[in-house]
């Protein structure tokens, strides 16, 4: 197990390096002057020069990259062009909101997904199974930002039940979580269903039933436990996707998280902030994937031992 973890950790290093090169490089390798891209086509010469000097764009590219890397390793992502506040301050001020949104949405999609998946698997090919699976197909096919708009339309504007914008009190959290988590719930539901059907068809389940183990115990103790393993992987990946999916959800619900920070900074041409935030989200995603890998391996091992 420890060997597996170190192995995966070592594999992470080139990927993380690659991520910094990409985040650094896209701006510098695309045709056009980076300072001009940031300042805007019609910006006066002086502004462009100021940006160039400030970001050290006169230096050779490799020196710029090493400076960038050195700073990133000390969590220094430069300062915002808009307001001169360090990018890391911008990020840390908003990080928790996005994180919270992603965690609660993941919890929601696991709960709803498992519930639907189990019901579907236990009563397979029933009316409920078929309708739930059709609903999950819609859930998968809906753009999360459109679902968000529709939820605001129905539950905030028409019914007045929930706040349409913001984040913080529970009343504001319900709609964004449903908007962001629905697609994940649909994926987990389908995964749980097929994974449980796989397990239920296996010999040891038949043995358990033949031994006279109660049906409820068969489903929850024997079948579900093993069916959950692939589901854990999917749920972990969902969390990673929710971190980036929040870009759209935060825009719809006017939530002041990292996603909205990226969008606002793109429109303000505040490139250091965009760069820093994208980098943080990518590193988090890589970390989550790593943890998911390890959990999967760990769970699988326990099954092997049993």
């Amino acid at each position: 197990m420890i060997r597996f973890i170190t192995q995966r950790l070592i594999q992470l290093i080139p990927v993380l390096f690659g991520v910094t090169i990409l985040v650094f490089g896209i701006l510098h390798l695309t045709p056009g002057d980076p300072a001009l891209i940031m300042a805007g086509e019609s910006a006066p010469e002086a502004t462009v020069n100021a940006i160039r000097r400030r970001l050290g764009l006169d230096n050779p590219l490799h020196i710029q990259y090493f400076d960038f890397l050195k700073n990133v390793l000390t969590l220094d992502f430069g300062t915002s062009i808009r307001d001169n506040i360090p990018v890391s301050d911008h990020i840390s001020a908003r990080f928790f909101i996005t994180f919270e949104l992603a965690v609660i949405s993941t919890a929601f999609s696991i709960f709803a997904g498992l519930l639907v998946g189990i019901v579907s698997a236990v009563w397979k090919y029933s009316f409920w199974d078929v309708s739930l699976m059709v609903i999950t197909l819609f859930g998968l096919s809906m753009p999360n930002f459109w679902l968000g708009l529709m939820l605001i339309q129905w539950f905030s504007i028409n019914l007045g039940w929930f706040a349409p914008t913001g984040w913080g009190n529970p009343n504001q959290m319900v709609l964004p979580v449903i908007a962001l988590g629905t697609a994940g719930a649909a994926i987990i539901a389908r995964m749980t269903r097929s994974s449980m059907l796989d397990v239920i068809g296996q010999d040891y389940i038949r043995t358990a039933r033949a031994k006279g183990v109660k049906e409820r115990s068969v489903i929850f103790k024997h079948a579900l436990k093993n069916a959950l393993i692939p589901v854990v992987t999917v749920a972990g990946l969902q969390f990673g996707y929710f971190l980036s999916g929040s870009v759209l959800t935060e825009s719809v619900f006017a939530i002041n998280g990292l996603g909205r920070l990226i969008i606002d900074s793109i429109f303000a041409r505040d490139f250091p902030v965009v760069q820093g935030t994208v980098l943080v989200l990518a590193v988090m995603f890589v970390t989550v994937n790593f943890l998911v890998d390890i959990t999967y391996k760990f769970l699988n091992k326990r099954v092997d031992l049993n």
Binding site: V19, V23, S251, I266
Partner: protein, 300 residues
Amino acid sequence: MSQNNGYQDMTSTQLLMKNIKEFFGRLNKNKAAMVGFYVLVILFFIAVFGYLDARFGWLGISSTKTNLTARLEGPSAEFLFGTDHMGRDILYRIFHGMHITLGVGFAATFLAALVGVPLGILAGYYGKWIDSIIMRIMDVLLAFPGILLALFIVSILGGSTINVTIAVAISAVPQFARIVRGSTLTTKNLEYIDAIRALGAKDFKIIFQHILPNIMSPIIVNTSIFLASAVLSIAGLSFLGLGVQPPIPEWGAMLNDGRNYMYQAGHITFFPGMMIVIVVLAFNLLGDGLRDALDPKLKN
């Protein structure tokens, strides 16, 4: 993709035809997939007709005519889907925008396959350092979840129809490369490929005549599955104002227009979104069906 004896007697075209025939036979049995397929065929014809109509004005309808006396009107006999904030007919805009959603989705997917498939074949076929380099680069691209990479690229290139297509295509390249690499590896190790090589066939010939026809099915499945997420990504970026720009009637951009008027006119955001759901659902149904039809492991 089981390779039975007899395959080695076939030319690549025959092999491809046999695979295609088998595949349609299996796809036919999957009702949901056929529904998706027919919906897409219908949408495709509507899109072509919508494009031609937008260019040549056959039907005498306008999706660009603004009418300030009929702003934000709800669905009625005159405007089936209502009008938007500039008094434009939403039904006509959806009709004239269909080729954009489908066209950009197909273009992005095609571009991604065009780059990803050769990379996957190179990595899988040659292995060693070529494989390592290509796949490490793909790993880096995969480190950016969801639309983050496309968003980042578009933030530098600027929002436009072409840029959003390129951005979404780049972020999809690793998916194609990974799947193609895996299938290439499996195919490469088949005995009959060894035999052909022993007979002196060149790499180029092996790849084009034997590997490519054999890995067609995972490519097709991945393409149809990816089309759904391409449409979603492009609509999402346009919704953020970073993709297809107004006044082009792209559905995501229309949703962005409409969200400022939700209190007065909720229908503006309803219909374009519903259309996105229909298109994505059709691609998903077809993709699921294709996977079942082409992946013998899942076949019951």
